[in-house]
Amino acid sequence: MLQKRSLLSLLLPVSVVLTIVAVWFVCSAMQVFPPSLFPSPAEVATGFAEEAAGGRIFDDVIASVFRVATGFVLAVILGVPCGLWLGSSARARAAFMPGVNFFRALSPLAWIGFAILWFGIGDKSAIFIIFMATLFPIVLATVAAMANIPNVYFRVARDYGLHGRELLMQVTLPAIMPQLITTLRLAAGLAWFVVVAAEMSGAQEGLGFAVLDARNGLRADLLVVVMIVIGITGVLIDWLLQRLTHIPSVRWGYDR
């Protein structure tokens, strides 16, 4: 029964993908759209082999992932403590939340101008944009998660003598952890969106640059190759972060 189900859960999506490829194949074989604008599956496969042989596509993936990881980790390192502080101080919230909301509402792509002015073309400006894109959502979500902690936990903590650092590490952090993990997944997804846009104007390599490069070269086949790689890498990043929800001490946030 279980085997049957897992077989089905593999067969269903595979057959959907195969159907899409088949429709795609028929459309391009019948030349429904101009071939220069609508590559065939075979052309894409050749394009992929070409890119893989040259190794350029892998360099692009590494460049983009490195930027996302660095900007994202920096945002977590700064954003979570800031969120904890704002979450625990009404005065700090009153002072800073309007500012946080402003930057949260500001499209991260608006930072591209300053990123290039300040950091030039390359890793630094892309990392800066990703940092700016993910910092404020992380801060906001941490504040919101703290507001959701049931008061009972703090009363119990008081009864059992948990104060200061112990209260933070043994009550506040574990209490927000399930929500925090969800936030990290959303923020990583956002970072992966943003890196493509950031690399279109501020980089000489990376998947965003590869999109631009393929378009400039009128290589629709490579455009599809890069898009597929962007999608798959994004799914893998989320899958990796989703593993965090399997930690036993956070299961309570998802199971009930």
């Binding site: 049931p150 009972v152 936990y153 009363r155 119990v156 008081r158 009864d159 059992y160 003598g161 009550v171 574990p174 209490a175 952890m177 036993p248 001490s249 956070v250 299961r251 309570w252 946030g253 199971d255 009930r256």
Partner: protein, 258 residues
């Protein structure tokens, strides 16, 4: 005040009150929850507080625990208090064992701590579930773990806020007898808030009946019968009758004596 039937105090050391409220008033804005309430609870005494819902039973516990402060009057506490909540008082990110360990934080020797936890788990019949997280346990087991956590270590005063009210009747009955048995092994001063009059009469040395807001003590019923008591013991039945009378909740003739 008009308690006259069973006036023998169970706890011998009435001389040293564990908790003392003297002329305590507490109001939230214009709402007066307590007006000049005085109550003394002896060391080792088991006091149940009953009353109509919304009369301030939980506020009373908050005052006793020090979580809330009275508007006027004084509260004296001799010893450390721990509260047991109606539900969800356990930390969901800790296993049953880890939750109970929280009650033994004063023990620095891990072997001593673990053996104490094992003893508590055994007392509660929870050994097979020590590695379970609260959300994997039934409501009754969660309350057992919470009581074990509260009884671990050297707390003097236990405050319970309707700890069994979210459970079904049979589980409630079982937990009453388990709680009583545990108390006989680890005596504590107990303040037990409940809306369940039968529960109060079944377990307590003294049942304090509160009136509507602003709450005053409208009567106190003492029960001198040893625990564990049978639910149908005449003293328990008599106490239930008296409390129902006081609250004006009995149907028909009040002198329907046994």
């Amino acid at each position: 005040m008009n308690s006259n039937a069973h006036t023998t105090p169970v706890a011998p050391s009435i001389t040293e009150p564990s908790l003392q409220l003297a002329n305590v008033s507490r109001s939230f804005g214009t709402m007066h929850v307590f007006d000049n309430l005085s109550l003394e609870i002896a060391r080792g005494e088991f006091v149940a507080i009953v009353g109509p819902s919304g009369c301030g039973k939980s506020t009373l516990l908050n005052l006793l625990s020090g979580f809330d402060k009275p508007t006027s009057g004084t509260i004296t506490r001799h010893g450390k208090t721990r509260m047991v909540f109606q539900q969800d008082g356990l930390f969901p990110w800790l296993t049953a064992r880890e939750n109970i360990a929280l009650g033994l934080r004063h023990l620095h020797d891990d072997t001593a701590r673990q053996s104490q936890i094992d003893e508590l788990l055994a007392l509660m019949g929870l050994q097979p579930f020590d590695a379970y997280y609260p959300h994997q346990l039934s409501g009754g087991m969660r309350q057992r773990v919470e009581i074990a956590r509260a009884l671990a270590g050297e707390t003097d005063i236990l405050l319970l806020d309707e700890p069994f009210s979210s459970l079904d009747y049979l589980t409630r009955l079982r937990l009453r007898s388990e709680f009583t048995r545990l108390l006989s092994e680890r005596p504590r001063t107990v303040v037990f808030v409940t809306h369940d009059i039968e529960e109060a009469a079944h377990m307590a040395d003294r049942v304090v009946v509160l009136s509507e807001r602003p709450a005053r003590i409208c009567c106190e019923v003492r029960l001198s019968t040893q625990r564990p008591r049978d639910l149908t013991h005449p003293a328990v039945v008599e106490a239930v009758k008296r409390i129902l009378d006081e609250m004006g909740l009995r149907e028909g003739n009040e002198n329907r004596a046994k």
